[in-house]
Symmetry: C2
Subunit: 321 residues, 2 copies
């Protein structure tokens, strides 16, 4: 929720002069995103979104992220379009940081998704998976099952301090996940962070997907499991099977799930709950006291992890197994 | 540089339904302003600016601030126009805070003002002073010469810790300012915080004045002295008399200065340097360690205060005394 880098107007104007997007009329730092500095630009040609990539995003990954958005837009997916400068490049430099301009997407994130939003989400996710199939660049998922163990070890003591007994519980869980993790499911480019924040609606219609900065190559069904966690639990921690069914059915209407994917769903959901539980625990334990950005409470993901552990079959998500 | 209050989409939509400004297409928290939470709204009718007033702004002052903007716009001053809701009110409530919507002004703040910007500023400031003449509400300047003493006393030890000897220097200075302060200069509504951040340009043309949340009734020439400090010093601390002359001449072409105002200018400039020095010292001393919002360094205002102390006559600002 911050702008980390101030952009002097002279530097911004020189940067914009390398683009063909009209004359700048105003720009505002946007209080969103914890990784980068974002600005909304009004020019006489329209509205644009400027991102300065701060150090938490690896510069080597930017051609993947920007190339992917460009690829998806070309295939009809509503996501920000990287704007090329006069040299034809999607990536420039501003205030000594990698910087890119993308088209501004109108739309509003839904804080309390309803089943109708889950239908739109399922359809869009499947369309994105299909559209990314022939994207030529690949990016490893650094936060996949093999990354959870090291992440856990790096903050084991903090986890135990956060909640006595939790380290042991997660250790056992990690052993199960590592042993049983399905490694041969259909895979391709996944969004990997498709929380309600990153999906725009106007009314009930989905108008765009944003924030591809965790996108990577992994199992499609794992992306779906991330969405199950992010969209289908209520504020009180309860699981809403109506939303889950809406999400999964809409997805399968665009991209039918294979039996192995359906079968793996409970385990994938446990894994994706573990992934977000661990990064939230890490941020919770390591954030400087008094820091302005308050880390998200890990607790809700612990509740979700435990829920999925009790799901015996895909029927628990409203799917016929 | 922050948004302090999250606005849930349902609450925002209910709030906007009380206005006649079209359908919301997107809203973004703006990373600007240290007092309030600000959002930029796109609707199908245009762009608007939503402010939630946080606790540092006294609710009782809001009719003055909003009424003033409305009054100035009616008299042709380019500043944000408060939008009335369907009940005709400029002030509503959102997330349990006073909230207002104003028109969005295009334009860019100039980080390094040039003499041509000072010409535009001087003219706009004088126009604002004239336009505010018949504004019926008044607001006392809480940060006037009578407020500096208590402010100084509240952080005397911190000031001495900040720079040994400084408390004594400021004490002497305060005594002179209190003794010699001119109390019968022409007065009216002043902006009182017209820094480059609060003035928009497109190219060389001034397109708007914003942020009236320090506006109050005080001497017009004091407002001018604030601008001398805020616009006419270089980054290296040196005073740029060309900019000062440009500012003052442009001002007097719209609203001629009386001899008493011209004569008082060096003292008013000392006073306005003192006012910003003291509030910056206060913020510097009292900000929580590790706070996200880094307070501004008081040092530049100490340099300015000392400069003005050495100015023998208005000729030091490029004016014929």
């Amino acid at each position: 929720m911050a702008v980390y880098t101030e952009v002097p107007d002279e530097e911004l104007e020189a940067f914009l002069a390398t683009y063909d997007i009209g004359t700048l009329m105003s720009y505002k730092g946007i209080a969103e995103g914890v990784e980068n500095s974002n600005f909304m630009l009004h020019t006489d040609a329209g509205t644009y979104f400027l991102t300065l990539y701060e150090k938490r995003v690896a510069e080597a990954d930017l051609p993947f992220f920007l190339g992917l958005m460009n690829h998806l837009v070309d295939r009809g997916i509503n996501c920000p379009t990287p704007i090329r400068n006069r040299k034809g490049e999607m990536l420039g430099r501003l205030v000594d940081r990698p910087a890119a301009i993308v088209s501004f997407l109108e739309g509003i994130s839904v804080r309390r998704p309803q089943p109708r939003h889950c239908v739109e989400l399922g359809r869009a996710l499947a369309q994105m998976h299909l559209a990314g199939a022939d994207f030529p660049i690949t990016r490893r998922n650094a936060l996949n099952v093999d990354g959870w163990g090291p992440l856990f070890s790096s903050c084991r003591d903090g986890i135990e301090a956060y909640q006595p007994g939790l380290a042991q519980e997660l250790e056992k869980e990690l052993a199960v996940l590592t042993r049983d993790w399905p490694r041969d499911l259909p895979r391709g480019v996944i969004h990997a962070d498709l929380f309600p924040d990153n999906v725009f609606f106007m009314g009930d219609r989905l108008t765009g997907l944003i924030d591809f900065y965790f996108a990577c190559n992994d199992a499609f069904a794992y992306d779906l499991a991330i969405c199950l966690n992010a969209w289908c639990f209520e504020a009180d921690g309860s699981f809403n099977i109506t939303k889950a069914r809406a999400l999964l059915q809409a997805y399968t209407q665009v991209r039918p799930l294979e039996p192995a994917e359906i079968h793996a769903l409970p385990l994938l959901a446990r894994g994706s709950a573990m992934r977000f539980l661990l990064t939230r625990l890490y941020d919770w334990i390591n954030h400087p006291p008094g820091a302005f950005v308050q880390p998200k409470n890990p607790k809700e993901y612990l509740t979700r992890l435990r829920f999925h552990r009790g799901v015996a079959s895909p029927a628990g998500y409203g799917l016929d197994a």
